[in-house]
Amino acid sequence: MLEEARSRWHPIAAAHDLPFRHVFHGQLLGREFAVWRADDGYVNIWENRCLHRGVRLSIGINDGRELKCQYHGWRYSNRTAGCTYIPAHPADAPARTITNRTFPAVERYGLVWSSEEPRGEVPEIAGLAEGKLLALRGIAVNAPADKVVERLRAYRFQPNGAIDGEGADILVEAAQDFAVALRSRASSAETQGVFFVQPVDSNRSVIRGVLDQEAEGAARIAILRHHNERLSKLRDEVERDVANAPAPAPLEPVYERVSAELAEMPEVTTHGRKAALRVSVARKWQAADGIAGFELRPIKGILPTFQPGAHIDVHMPNGEIRQYSITNGPGETDSFTIGVKLERDSKGGSKCMHETVREGDVLAISEPRNNFPLRRDAIKTLFVAGGIGITPLLAMAQALKNQELAHELHYFAQGEEHLAFADRLKHLGDALKPHLGLSPDATGAELRQLLAGYRNGMHLYICGPGPMLEAARKIAAEQGWPDSAVHFEYFKNTNKIDDSSSFEVALARSCVTLQVPAGKTIMQVMRESGIDVPSSCEQGACGTCVATLIEGEPDHQDVYLNDAERKAGTKIMTCVSRAKSARLVLDI
């Protein structure tokens, strides 16, 4: 029976077991769950162990958007259960898909239901009208579920309207493997009670009763007490019944192994320029003057986990591909929100998004990628956004706000009407510092002021138009900010690419040597030889195609690497950069 039980839905908690920001420890058929409700109402049912070191997540912290493990502070996102941050390595985005095992959750009859391998739906109970029910307190019984059901068939209780009386008539309306429906009648009063039995383990059960009428105040207390007393007595009887029988062996849950890729800690993950996801435009609106907001919802299933700073490739109806940062705050995993500025000299990307794409349209997007990761170990973080450069920084600021880490978001824009995503900005409170209508010179003066006072442990994140970004980086360097504390993301690479050189590329791990002729990129040549190279913007701005350089002198033409990284000569963007030496050796 227990084998079959795996494919059924069972109640694992009462809805009232999931109060604000609590994590409930549930169990079904020997398997433990961490059950928590996010602030957006979503009920998460997860395997009760952190993927890192097996610590129970039911002792973790529910911050309303994410669940934080107590042991090492790993954060797992609402809905997707994907890991969004590993504090031991603050500079790295968890590049690998570390995702906890999730189980389906349905709320019905005041109970939370789940199943290991569900077939079909949560049982329909005639007579139980949603919303007008009274869920009783769960009664734990040290006995197998079938023994509990057996006793429940003979359970006697008073109808709600005659709770103080005695001797009501009881009718067994239905009895199944894991539930008994009873009706109690006493003169004019009548109550239906459905008693579900949750098989916690082979020898442990919980009785979860639901009555077909709700009650308030003292009457409610009296009804709950009535059932508590009688069900407790029933529990004692069942436990006496089974006391002399040998207890069945506890069920051993099987933990899924993590993927081989996760176990081996690869340096980089490979993903080509693929658009694996299909989303529909749930909402399109004017997020600011000249900026369209898009809310993208999955066609089916749930979206993958994203981290602040991550972007997606959007494949447009006209065949163009563009990168847009995800602006969502932590735990907002039911949709991705992006902002698209209409570029005056648009080559078809932003124009298509503004003019052609409408609500209800389906778009292909890539998995989120994070080449602009946010450290969360700064004593203070400054964000400097120019115009549409707000989008990645907005996601970052919301993440720090949620963790109550010190930060300021300096948002440079032409005017109030150009500030995008007002609703999200509002939640940042005092951390938001708009700087409106400044000339380039005035912007420089403002930046000099706010970048003064660098202290060890501070970090700066900049995103905006090229000239402003250059100015901010220069000012930061002048004010004593080391390269390692200044993080930036360009929209695009405006460098004029010189692809006139020809050279040789040796791929150390693949044991191949390739010739790169003038007019072709390293990436193109690798792909022609069948080597899978991850990429996104393909113009040297996003950092997705980075490769480790073992030998040779690179000719950097990207805008992703900072000066220190360029000098170190250990990384190269294969989509635009080339060689000054005759030969490069890459760790691919």
């Binding site: 070191r53 097996g54 002792i59 502070g73 504090p87 390595h89 800690m265």
Partner: protein, 297 residues
């Protein structure tokens, strides 16, 4: 004699059973090692006697020499073995330095396997979360690169160049700073750490954890302090270590499964876990099966 533990590697090791400082001369104490009930006593000269408990023997001098288990006294504890132990226990040279304070900080029962407790002892990443404001504090959460080697000739794991930000680095400074650590694992169930001394920057305090495996999923953790401190009373030094261990205990007892999985795909390692990865490999290479879930062959 049949033993409950069938792992020859573990059977043939020395295991600690109790602190000598807490044993009244001649008094018989009962304990459990590898699921077997043992009795032990320490005589007035500090010589330990250990035997399998039996109702007819209530004094150490009543147990015939042939029925005694191997016993030594080392680092302030009584050690014994249910198999054929090596001639010597692993060395801790600092224990001989005369100006050090040597104390059993505490003996704690913990509902977890010995290898899980060793991994916790080797781990720095949890300091800001589990030992908040003592050994670490947010946002200083980074585990910087460090080195790990499995020393073949000494048959032990050595992690060096370990550094972690500590909010009160010493009583002498009011700010936080990186503190240096060196970790050794010279025995599958024992680990020794060396930590910058707040009173002498050229030397290091030594803190060791010796785990007595009660069974595969329960230990008694004996904590040795061997520190440079001339000012504080014993109870102050002990209380600090007890506070730290008291914070680790509920985490350890909530690890699932309790035995340490040696399958590399059972859990998700990160770079900060280098020493734990080396430890799991070392246990696998040794063929340890007790207190672990061996990787499928």
């Amino acid at each position: 004699m049949m033993t409950k533990c069938a792992d020859p590697v573990i059977l043939n090791l020395w295991h600690p059973v109790g602190a000598i400082a807490e044993a009244a001369p001649g008094a018989v104490q009962e304990t459990v090692l590898l699921e077997e009930r043992l009795s032990f006593a320490v005589d007035a000269d500090g010589e330990p006697v250990v035997w399998r408990s039996r109702p007819d023997v209530q004094r150490a001098d009543h147990i015939p020499p042939a029925d005694r288990l191997p016993a030594i006294s080392a680092y302030g504890y009584v050690w014994t073995s249910l198999g054929s132990p090596p001639a010597e226990l692993f060395p801790i040279p600092e224990y001989q330095e005369p100006d050090r304070r040597k104390l059993n900080a505490a003996t704690f029962g913990v509902n977890v396997s010995a290898p899980r407790a060793i991994e916790n002892f080797l781990d720095m990443g949890h300091f800001p979360y589990v030992h908040t404001d003592i050994l670490g504090v947010e946002p200083h959460t980074e585990v910087k690169e460090y080195d790990v080697e499995i020393s073949v000739d000494r048959d032990e794991i050595l992690a060096t160049r370990c550094r972690f930000f500590q909010p009160m680095a010493s009583t002498a400074s009011d700010g936080g700073a990186d503190v240096d650590y060196v970790y050794r694992v010279p025995h599958p169930y024992c680990s020794v750490l060396y930590k910058s001394s707040p009173v002498d920057e050229t030397r290091r305090d030594v803190i060791a954890v010796f785990l007595q495996p009660v069974d595969q999923e329960h230990v008694r953790a004996h904590m040795l302090l061997c520190v440079l401190d001339e000012d504080n009373e014993d109870k102050v030094i002990k209380r600090f270590q007890q506070t730290i261990f008291g914070q680790d205990k509920p985490i350890l007892e909530n690890q699932v499964p309790k035995r340490l999985p040696l399958d590399p795909r059972a859990e998700t390692p990160i770079r900060a876990d280098k020493s734990a990865i080396a430890y799991r490999r070392w246990l696998s290479q040794k063929g340890v099966t007790y207190g672990v879930i061996p990787a499928a062959a």
